[in-house]
């Protein structure tokens, strides 16, 4: 238990994996650069957030997941979406509120999901809310026998929300296969981490839930990936949820509107010298995993891709006004057919197999026997069992006014055999 700065990792990566990490970081950055251009052209609706300098985290952590696993991104996790398989056009269109975007313009930014294929849960703006949600995905997946891991991200600032606490505690109590990445980028909007969280290492948050945690250099994509892979494996193996604190820095303002002049120059300079992509390029070149031709190829690939994706996105129409109406409710099976993907025998969770011995009860337990006697209130705030007289000036119920049995509902005799639903018919 407790945070541990991982020094050496057991397994090494394949060349393809090393290059994938590079490609996705580059893609992450290029997608965001394209969006900055679109923003300057007033084509972005609402705010534009940046993960400049934090790409190693989104990419390295999400790359540790399997296809069947689930994520929920936050505003600075475009990289995770890309690794999960979201095409850049979707991200562009979301930010431009286009009709062909995943949410068809009803929501924007990274607020979209995909339940059926990519297994992405849409975030909402309220920080921390995704934590119990993803714990629920993990618990639900386990129930269905899916062996999935759920992952989401939170900022240093977001770790002070109540729902962060409730979600992690519940995940830990349930030993959910859940991995939380805490991106400590030293700032929450204009507030430095020290003014909002009285901790040196935010990984210490995990101690309050008996959770294991790691601290990792968030600007080192290989370290991030290896740590995440270990955490994901352990979570999948049933060791319970794990928290990873990734230390990094928010290089730009809170969003495009914010020049972030409250950030000390020296701090910015320190981190600018530690750009995760530059660092990784140096590493790859040193290890002979990347050379000029390969790099050029990637440059070109990205340029072509993004040009096409951007164009597609720009050509998408704005949603027609009337589309604002409707869609608030699922109207039944014509709208969604909800089906669970069972990967275990359903018999395991249905009676008689699911039935457990009631070792905790004693005769008569719960049949309305408070210390005030058999007909006393079951719980404070309860009414006594059915009575003959109106209990309360004029509040009495018609049904209650008829003579009725004075006892709490009695147990019926156990039916002969078979499932009880059948037996009742």
């Amino acid at each position: 238990m407790g945070a541990a700065m991982k020094k050496s990792m057991p397994r090494e990566l394949t060349r393809q994996q090393y290059l994938d990490l590079y490609y996705y970081m580059r893609l992450n950055r290029a997608v965001e650069e394209t969006m900055v251009k679109l923003f300057r052209q007033n084509k972005i609706v609402g705010g534009l957030y940046s993960s400049l300098g934090q790409e190693a985290i989104s990419v390295g952590t999400c790359y540790a997941l399997e296809k069947k696993d689930w994520i929920a991104p936050m505003i600075r996790n475009i990289g995770a979406l890309l690794v999960k398989g979201v095409p850049p056009r979707d991200i562009f269109m979301q930010h431009m509120a286009k009709y062909d975007s995943p949410t068809k313009g009803r929501d924007g930014t990274s607020h979209f999901g995909d339940l059926d294929n990519l297994h992405i849960v849409s975030p909402i703006s309220m920080l921390g809310d995704l934590i119990p949600v993803m714990a629920g995905v993990a618990i639900g997946g386990r129930y269905l026998g899916q062996k999935i891991v759920a992952m989401t991200w939170i900022g240093d600032g977001g770790s002070s929300t109540g729902v962060f606490h409730e979600g992690l505690n519940f995940a830990a109590a349930q030993k959910a296969a859940f991995v939380l990445i805490l991106e400590n980028n030293l700032w929450a909007y204009s507030t430095p981490v020290g003014r909002q969280v009285p901790l040196e290492n935010l990984a210490d948050r995990a101690t309050g839930y008996g959770m294991d945690s790691y601290i990792v250099d968030g600007n080192n994509v290989v370290a991030v990936y290896k740590t995440a892979r270990e955490a994901v494996e352990r979570a999948r193996a049933g060791e319970g949820p794990i928290l990873i604190e990734a230390k990094t820095f928010r290089r730009l303002g809170h969003a495009q509107h914010d020049p972030a002049e409250y950030v000390p120059k020296e701090m910015r300079a320190y981190w600018e010298a530690r750009d995760p992509i530059a660092l990784y390029e140096k590493f790859l070149t040193g290890e002979k995993l990347l050379d000029a031709p390969v790099k050029k190829e990637i440059d070109e690939r990205l340029e072509t891709l993004l040009e096409a994706e951007r164009e597609f996105a720009e050509n998408s129409p704005m949603p027609p006004p009337e589309f604002a109406e409707g869609g608030v409710y699922c109207t039944g099976d014509d709208c969604h057919k909800i089906q669970a993907r069972w990967e275990r025998p359903i018999a395991e969770v249905t009676p008689p197999k699911s039935s457990v011995k009631a070792v905790w009860t004693v005769p008569g337990f719960g049949s309305g026997k408070g210390s005030g006697g058999v007909d006393a209130a079951i719980h404070f705030g309860d009414a006594p069992a059915v009575m003959d007289k109106p209990a309360n000036n004029g509040r009495s119920a018609k049904a209650a006014a008829k003579p009725a049995a004075k006892t709490a509902p009695k147990k019926a005799k156990a039916a002969a055999a078979g499932a009880s639903r059948k037996a009742r018919r």
């Binding site: 949410t103 934590i131 629920g136 519940f170 608030v328 699922c330 009631a358 309305g368 079951i378 119920a397």
Partner: protein
């Protein structure tokens, strides 16, 4: 109450007999969990204890730890986790130990749960239920009627039944609905009300009111515990020659506009009775509805009989004064009838 074998019915065999409101709820959950293994129950003390009011008694025994989950005291986590579960195709029922604690999950419910389908096409078949309402000396933090917070939140459905039959049928319908449904159980009714429930599987449609008593002089709209006060008042009114039509709204969102309008078209007068506080209560929404769509039908002012605009006081004398009741309904209806 035998455990550990499939033959047990855990006291749920209900074949067409009189059951309490509480038992009706218990049966609905039992039967839905029996019918559909994607249905789960989560909440504080719902497992071993069977829930603070015993609405889930015997469920753990039959369905096991994976389907009857005792949670930490974390209402936001309960609702959040239910959202996540629903995304993998499950249908969680969430119990609030008292409905008062639902406000501790207000953000999750109004932002995450209610908006998901509209924004990103994510259905969330979740039921949130719990004991609500006053009249049992629960005081300011155990007597809430929070329906209007949710009636004012697009994306939710809101149910507040008054009979065992409806409670069971509507809860089953809620579990099968693909939308988030808030299901309020008036605790005054839990063990005071008994009623027949059919032996066979049935549901009661969400969004439909029911005429509990026909009449022609005025329409009384109500629901939950106040339904019974309204019926009692109607009996008394009848003795004075005033025939009130009493409608049980049952579902508050969506409102059954059609039935409300057609009754008022007939009676031309309308009185709304709710246990919720007055200002911002559902009577206002109904007033607006009538003003918009039945303005020329109204022969008298819309009258509200509601709780006072205060917290729910603790002392019985105060609570009684605070709450509406049959006498107050009777008096207001009589005046309206004479208008």
């Amino acid at each position: 109450m035998a455990g550990g074998n499939g033959a047990a019915t855990n006291g749920f065999a209900s074949g067409g007999r009189q059951v309490t409101f509480l038992e009706a709820i218990r049966q609905a959950m039992f039967e839905e969990m029996e019918r559909d293994p994607t249905v789960l129950l989560m909440g504080e003390d719902v497992g071993v204890y069977g829930g603070a009011f015993k609405t889930s008694e015997g469920l753990l025994e039959r369905f096991g730890w994976e389907r009857v989950i005792d949670t930490p005291i974390s209402e936001s986590a309960i609702i959040g986790a239910a959202c996540g579960m629903s995304y993998v195709g499950l249908r969680p029922i969430c119990e609030m130990q008292f409905i008062d604690f639902i406000v501790c999950a207000f953000n999750q419910i109004t932002n995450f749960l209610a908006k998901g389908h509209y924004l990103w096409n994510a259905p969330a078949p979740i039921v949130i239920r719990g004991p609500s309402g006053g009249g049992v000396h629960g005081g300011p933090f155990h007597s809430a009627n929070p329906e209007m917070y949710f009636v004012h939140t697009p994306g939710l459905k809101v149910i507040y039944p008054s009979t065992p039959y409806d409670a069971k049928g509507l809860l089953k319908a809620a579990v099968r609905d693909n939308n988030p449904v808030l299901f309020f159980e008036h605790k005054f009714l839990y063990r005071r009300i008994k009623g027949e429930v059919p032996a066979e599987d049935y549901t009661v449609p969400i969004g439909k009111s029911v005429v509990r008593r026909e009449g022609r002089h005025l329409t009384i709209l109500s629901y939950a515990a106040m339904m019974h006060a309204s019926l009692e008042a109607a009996d008394a009114l009848a003795k004075e020659g005033i025939e009130a039509e009493v409608i049980d709204l049952r579902t508050l969102l969506p409102l059954d506009e059609e039935s409300i309008l057609s009754s008022v078209k007939k009676t031309n007068k309308c009185l709304v009775v709710h246990e919720d506080t007055k200002t911002g209560g559902i009577a206002g929404e109904i007033a607006a509805l009538l003003c918009e769509k039945a303005f020329s039908d109204l022969d008298g002012p819309l009258v509200r009989v509601t709780a006072l605009d205060t917290p729910v006081p603790y002392a019985p004398t105060l609570e009684e004064y605070f709450l509406p009741n049959a006498k107050k309904v009777f008096a207001a209806a009589k005046e309206l009838a004479r208008y």
